[in-house]
Structure formats: C-alpha cells, structure tokens
Amino acid sequence: MEQNSVIHIDQLSKVYTVNEREAGLIAAMRSLVKRKTRDVKAVDAISFTVSEGEIVGFLGPNGAGKTTTLKMLSGLLHPTDGSASVLGYRPWERSRDYLRRMTLVMGQRNQLLWDIPVIDTFELNRAVYRIPEAEYRLAVEELTELLELASLLQRPTRNLSLGERMKCEIAAALLHRPSVLFLDEPTIGLDVTMQRRIRRFITEYNQRTGATVLLTSHYMADVEALCKRVIVIHHGKLLYDGELTGLADRIAPFKTVEVKLQNGLGGRPLAQYGELVAETEGRVTLRIPKVDTASVTGRLLAELDVADLTVQDPPIEDVIEHVFSQSPSPLGDPDPQQAQSV
C-alpha cells in the first residue's frame, strides 16, 4: 500500500441475483408465483489504490460495473466479496464520520427538492450535515463564485435548465467540504460549454481542497481534461489502470497515418498499406499496426507522391471503442504489476 492512499480496494466483487422472465403475459403471471433467478457478476475481483488528491477517471461501457463500484465505495452496497477502505473506513458500515467526509453526485439523479428554491435545499443539507453557520456561509460563497450560481439560488429547482440544475446539484453535494468525491457521470446531457465549466470547477475544487476524486464519464473530453490516470473496467473486470497517455500504447497497438498526395488519389488503392479509416479530397487516413508504422511509412513515401504525411496516436475515443468492441478482454487478464503500481 502506498502512503497517503485514500481509496484502497482489494479483490472487490459484487454478484447480483436478478429475476429472469420470459416475454408474454403467461410467463409474467407465472413469475408472480415463482421466479427464476440468475447470478450476474457486476464487479469481478477488482483491486486498485487511489492516493490523496488524485483525480482518477473510471471508464467502461454501460453495464461495466462502474456505478456498482461507486455505490460500494459510497456505502450503498455491500460487496459479495473482497474488501475496501476509504479514508480508513469500511464504506458499507456507513459510519457517520465517513459519510460526513465523502459525497456522491449522480448526473442522472437529483437530490435538490423540486418545488423550492435551491438555497433552501442547501439549508437542509446544512442541517443534516450540521455545518456551522460561518463555514456554511463561506462554502456557499465560494461555490457561488466558482460555479456562478448567484442568479440561480433563489429560483425553484423546477425552473432551472439541466445544466443549471447540475451546477446546483454539485454545489449541494459539496457544502460540507468532503475530502472524497464520487462523481457518476456529472456532465451527462450537458452542452459543451457547461461541460467545460464543470470540468474547470472540478479541477479548481481539487486544487483548492486537495480532495480525491473518482469520476465516471462517457465523454472522453472530461477524462482527457481532468484525469492523468484512468482505470478501465469491462464486464466487471479491471482492464487497465495507469496513465491516460499509456492507454493507447497498451491496448490499442496501432497508429493513425494521414497522407496527402501530390496529384490527388488518382484511384490508387491505398487499402494495401493499412486499414482505410477516412478519405477526403486527396487526404487519406490509415490505421496501421504500431510495429509496422516505420516500414509502411517508408513504403508510402517511396511509392507515392506524398505532399504531406503525419503519424499520430489514435484519438482516445477510438481506443476506448476499440477495447470495448472486443469482448471479453483483448488483454487477457490485466497485468497485476500494472494494476498495482502507478
């Protein structure tokens, strides 16, 4: 274990028993009496450690087990197996001291009360968390400034736009100055400007308070802007844990080569050099296995009238998509060393 590790989980697993039902009315009636059940492994022996002040991106497709893991870490779910410690507490014991030091934000769910002004939900959280008056005022002031809430606080939640509501949700979840943040899709459904605002805020909050952040998102821009380190899970298993920049190297062993030809394409079959990704007015993008990059580039330059040529790492979206389209695991079991270091 590292020094200053805030989140430490070891072989954490969660198995759900789900009800199974065939389609149709008769099957539905039968299931009223007797239910068929099936076990689903939502999280399968995951281990990782997060240090104080880190912002870690937690990636995976829908149903990979991200939310289940976050729920176990925030004390809502008991694991089936394995152990976890956050700030030295076992989350699912839900000790008040622990709950006072963490927060959970779910982009898809609201804790703000619908009919009353936002500031009154804040007041409610102040009462629940027993925040002293002076600290509370300071927190509201600071969050108002960082998230630009001044014009929103007096309005009832139902009159706010999705983005405005999300900003207020985040503020409500941070009034008690938690030192661990679990953010489940905090930017979902927001426009680009609002996403950027929230991203900037998370960075600011992290820098000001030194809080540890574990965040899931479907938007790679979020992850690229916020997280040096990512943890990728798929089908409940840990696929990758390490630097975001290493992700491409490790799980997408190919490069993108963009070529512009002197005299247009002229119907030359470029597919022989690599997988054709895009083609626009004499500009061609190829995907080439990493080991072949040098030789293919050499052949391209020798055999064609190349006006311009660039070699790039593939965009992170493509890498992720590449991983998740191959199931169950393109890597086999994750390298335990890789999973534990960083």
Partner: protein, 261 residues
C-alpha cells in the same frame, strides 16, 4: 435535539413548498370542513334516535371525533407524505441520497415531507376536542388528562410504526402504494368506537390494523372507561411496535444494500 432542528427545517421547507401551490390550501380546507360536517352530521343522526351508542354518550363520541381528526391530521401532514416520498425514492433510486447522509435514515425518511395544509385537520380537531372535554369536564381529573395524553402519544406511535412497517416492504416489492389506500380506508372505521362493530371487525381493527389504539383507546381515556389493563397494554404495544418497526427497517436497509441477499 438535532432531529428536532432537522424537523423544523423540513417544516419550513414544507411551508415554502406548499406556498407555491396556494390552491391546495383551499382544497384542503374545504375537504377538512366536509369531513368534519360528515362526522358531526353522523353523530347528530345517531343521537336523534338514541341516547347512547354502544355505551358511548354524545360528548364522549365528540371526543372520539376530535381524536380521530387529530391523529388523522398528523398522519396526513407528516407520515403519509413522507412515506409516499420514501416509496418514490426507492423506485427512482434517489433513496441513495438519503442513505449517504450522516443521520439516522429512518428518522430522515419519516420526517422528510411535511404537507403543511393538512394541519387544518389538526386545527379543526383542537376546538372539537376542547368542546368535548369541557362538556365532560366535571368528571375529568388530572390523572384522566395525563392518561389521555399518554394514550394519544402511544396511539400516534403505534400508527407510525405500523405505517413504517408497511412502507418498508417497498424494499422488497418496490410498488406498495396500494397498501396506503387500504390503510386509509380502514382508518375511516376509527371514527366510531370499535365496540359497535361485530367481533371479527373489532379484532381486525385492534390487532391486524391497530386503528382502535389510536382512536377508541384515547377517547375512552377521557370518558373514564379505560381499564388499567388496556392502558398498560397500549403502552407496551407502542413500545414493542416501535422496536419491531425499527428492526424491520434495518432488515430492509440491509436487503436494499445487498447485505442479506
């Protein structure tokens, strides 16, 4: 103390929330007035034919109506809306926010929604109860008043615990709103002393759905017909139900978090 302050906050929020929908106030007022007229009209009809009903005299039944409105008002103001919100939270997954708060989840859930206009029932109950008590006044001593207060409190706690247990079932069955409707219709029967009902219904109202303890028992305390055994039984039942419902709540939470699954 902490939970009292918390309750005060919820009360404030309740007032704020309801002020957004002022029409609700007038509807509640009309509804409560209608309910009261029906109750009093019923009494008037009965006593135009007879002097006692199941051994109860007019002012004793008036006290019963008062108790019925008082407890019913508290149910409608706090317990029913809070429990409805709780079931909604289970279905929508927003219960997670309650469970990650550093406070007792059962108490949070039980006081989280206050429908302030429903206090109209309580406001109506007070004068009705006062009139009944004044008319019974000559025979009402200090001890009787204390016993009345105790039975009223116990009745309230019994109903609360019962309702909490019904709602806790939402952890397993998710949709159990219908139970509330059944309960409210059983509650209507509490407007009359349970002694007027046939034996089987009396048993149901006493033991299955403990309406009798919240209405008939306190009302019999003011009319001096309560026995020591009933009093002790009521207090014991209130304590037992409070404990059992708390235990059941914990089991529900454990099930919800998958600890016992």
């Amino acid at each position: 103390m902490f939970y009292l302050r918390l309750f005060a906050t919820y009360l404030r929020i309740g007032i704020l929330g309801e002020l957004e929908y002022r029409a609700n106030f007038w509807i509640s007022l009309v509804q409560s007035a209608l309910d009261l007229s029906v109750a009093l009209g019923g009494l008037a009809v009965v006593f135009s034919h007879t002097d006692t009903l199941g051994g109860w005299r007019q002012e004793e039944l008036l006290a019963l109506v008062g108790v019925y409105f008082l407890i019913g008002g508290l149910i409608r103001t706090i317990i029913r809306p809070s429990m409805t919100k709780f079931m909604e939270d289970v279905r929508q997954g927003t219960l997670d926010f309650t469970l990650t708060k550093p406070a007792d989840s059962q108490i949070l859930v039980s006081i989280q929604t206050v429908e302030i206009w429903r206090l109209v029932d309580v406001l109506i109950a007070l004068p009705v109860l006062s009139i009944a008590l004044l008319r019974l006044g000559a025979r009402l001593g200090l001890v009787d008043t204390a016993v009345f207060a105790v039975t009223l409190l116990c009745g309230g706690l019994i109903i609360y615990s019962f309702w909490l247990m019904l709602s806790t079932c939402a952890f397993w069955f998710v949709k159990v709103e219908n139970i509330q409707v059944i309960f409210m219709s059983m509650w209507q029967a509490g407007r009359w002393p349970v002694s007027i009902y046939p034996a089987w219904l009396r048993a149901v109202l006493t033991f299955l759905v403990p309406v009798a303890f919240a209405t008939t028992v306190p009302a019999s305390a003011v009319s001096g017909r309560i026995t020591g055994a009933t009093l002790v039984g009521t207090v014991a039942l209130a304590a037992a139900m409070l404990l059992v419902s708390r235990w059941f709540w914990r089991v529900g939470i454990r099930f919800y978090s998958g600890a016992s699954a």
